[in-house]
Amino acid sequence: MGISVIDGIYLDTSVGWTSMRYGLPITSMIGLGLISLSAVFILANHDQGEKRFSLLAYFLQYIGAILLLIRIFSIQILFIIFLTGLMGAAIIGTDQVDFRAPIQKRFFLSLPLFRVSLCFLVWGLVLSIEPRIALWIPIPDSILFASLWLVSIGILKVSLDNDYFSMILGLLNLFFGFQLVYILLEESSLVFGFLTAINLLITLLGAFILLRPDSAQSENEILESRENS
């Protein structure tokens, strides 16, 4: 799948046994930057009291993806991706964010150094394995890189955190990474619809889980169902 490169930024890198030349349009560079930074932010933030920044970063990932895909898909498809990100952030955030609460600056002061350095490591790892994977997944390098990066951050987020909000965000990251690859591999509206629906359903499920975090509430639900019967 070819992309015309206009006003691109050219970068020669030598990775392992192979030498690659990245010619990226400026939109892709911005997109990659947005996705990379917002994913770092999502992984690094494990302050359970302040979720606004994580949700903003989640939404920015979709903006980054739109910039990456802008030369490939029609405006309608890009708009659907935009809406998926916007609605996803809104659905998860509805009950989780108190907009009247003052912004907590604790996060900025104690930016978890371990997680940020882990991100650097993973970033390097993804950069090094991407050319090998590109041999059998024929999509543009920038998108494949973004996808692998999102999947890796998603797995790390799910593994490292134990609060439901972070785990759901990790799963969404992972699935969005897969979605980016698959919509380029399967050019079918049905598949695109399926992927979008699954993404939104995971978001809805996440919101549902976050609304009922204690099993005490589920006990009430059981009792209620008994009474109804």
Binding site: L185, L190, I202, L205, S218, S229
Partner: protein, 465 residues
């Protein structure tokens, strides 16, 4: 009128609409039972791709429906599966009339069954993986509100099913590329490895097997039993379809050697773990792991006979799961029952105890139960591969039977546990019907084999004419 509209869209719409009226629990359940029986009868009596004449009017009952450039197709060979699926669902719905289940169970279950029909009918078949994910996502809220513990296992279930989808979808796409150039060994290996990685997550293959035990332990036994049966059924169906579709895969021997090894290991580990479990639901979960091992081993052997055995086991497992889940639900409601609580159960709840034993032994393969002749053939097939596989298969079978015997001893030993109430008459009637269904598989083997042979026509690549 097309077959997918009737068996996929119609029940799905019915399920989603009935959620709005879920407060009328009994009415919705009875309507759903009528719908399932109606769809099963149609699948049994009216061949797909035929003309139905009523009076001066006629209706062409076509096999295919186009949706956004892809098609849902149900051929005549799929009709036995449809009959089975809808009859099986009707039996589960009868169960909800005698035990307390969440009011959303029936609407969601009917949508799930419709989605499984989607798995069977969608072309290319690999899109079935998305339908399986929809089943998981639809059912998750039900699991979540019915959980009795923290719910971490339920989340793990969601993560593993999603990981599975990612790998299976990518593997399916790669397989389609391999089909164009099957001589590219690099691509063949990649496609096979990625595809089977997905099944490792979905079929609870070691080391990703623990989610199945945790989910069954944490949530309502009736709901988890239904969903696990459907998921295992659809996963093995996709796997069989995959092997049936790609000739290059059937000639790629490392896959089948791998399936045999993994299957044997899972069978042995699953049955040993089942023996040492302390709760009924975990015991059942590990017996599912062992049975999945059986299925993989049979797929690895890949003869017409082994696929026949696999399908027979699948049907027996699904029927036995219904009996088991209903019994555990009657026994404990939403809570889990430990083996230590079971002494004296045979006197306190005789029908439930007998159903539990009959269900377990039908799958484990005790003589006189449906699984016995199949397990004998299975062990001899194992020995035909290698002595080691044969011995391990035999040990696996023995451990499962020993687990059942351990349970039986516990039921028979004296005890004065007061935690269980008496069974009701309606519960007893339904349990006895389920026992009779399980026994009928033993006493009418010709009928059962005929049904399985009809089922097998869906996978012509594994048939010798």
């Amino acid at each position: 009128m097309s077959a997918p509209t009737l068996w996929f869209l119609f029940p799905f719409l019915f399920g989603s609409l009935s959620m709005l009226f879920s407060e009328k629990r009994n009415l919705i359940t009875i309507l759903s039972i009528i719908l399932c029986l109606f769809l099963a009868v149609i699948a049994l009596t009216i061949p797909i791709n035929s003309m139905i004449v009523f009076g001066n009017n006629s209706l062409i009952f076509s096999s295919s429906k186009e949706i956004l450039g892809r098609s849902l197709t149900l051929e005549r060979s799929a009709q036995p599966v449809l009959v089975f699926l809808f009859l099986f669902t009707a039996i589960w719905f009868f169960g909800t009339l005698v035990v307390q289940v969440h009011r959303f169970f029936v609407p969601i279950a009917i949508m799930d069954v419709a989605l499984i029909v989607g798995v069977i009918s969608v072309k290319p078949f690999i899109y079935g993986a998305f339908f399986v994910e929809f089943v998981v996502l639809l059912t998750m809220p039900l699991f979540w509100v019915q959980r009795t513990k923290s719910g971490d296992g339920i989340l793990r279930f969601l993560f593993f099913q999603t990981f599975g989808l990612v790998f299976i979808a990518l593997g399916g796409w790669l397989s389609a590329s391999v089909d164009i150039n099957p001589s590219d060994e690099f691509l063949v290996t990649r496609a096979a490895v990625i595809f089977f990685l997905g099944f490792i997550f979905w079929l609870a293959i070691f080391p990703f097997h623990d989610w199945i035990a945790v989910v069954m332990d944490e949530t309502c036994p009736y709901i988890s039993g239904f969903i696990m049966s459907l998921l295992q059924f659809s996963t093995l169906f996709i796997l069989l379809n995959f092997l049936n579709t790609y000739a290059w895969m059937r000639s790629f021997t490392p896959i089948f050697s791998g399936l045999k090894i993994i299957g044997t290991v899972m069978l042995l580990l699953g049955s040993v773990w089942a023996f040492f479990q302390k709760t009924l639901q975990r015991l059942e979960a590990y017996s599912i792991v062992a049975e999945n091992g059986f299925s993989l081993l049979l797929l690895g052997i890949k003869t017409e006979n082994s696929v026949h055995l696999l399908l027979s086991f699948l049907i027996i497992r699904v029927i036995a799961a219904a009996a088991w889940s209903l019994s555990v639900k009657i026994l404990s409601g939403n809570n889990n029952v430990t083996i230590q609580q079971l002494p004296g159960l045979l006197i306190k709840k005789p029908v439930v105890s007998i159903t539990l034993l009959a269900s377990f032994f039908s799958v484990a393969g005790l003589p006189l139960f449906a699984g016995f002749p199949l397990k004998i053939v299975m062990i001899s097939l194992g020995f035909s591969q290698s002595v080691l596989i044969g011995v391990m298969t035999a040990f696996g079978c023995w451990f499962l039977i020993l687990t059942g015997l351990k349970m039986m001893i516990s039921f028979l030993s004296p005890g004065d546990s007061e935690i269980f109430s008496r069974e009701t008459i309606t519960q007893n009637i339904l349990l006895i019907v389920l026992i009779l269904i399980m026994l009928s598989l033993t006493f009418f083997p010709l009928l059962f084999n005929q049904f399985i042979s009809n089922l097998q026509t869906q996978f012509p690549a594994f048939m010798v004419y």
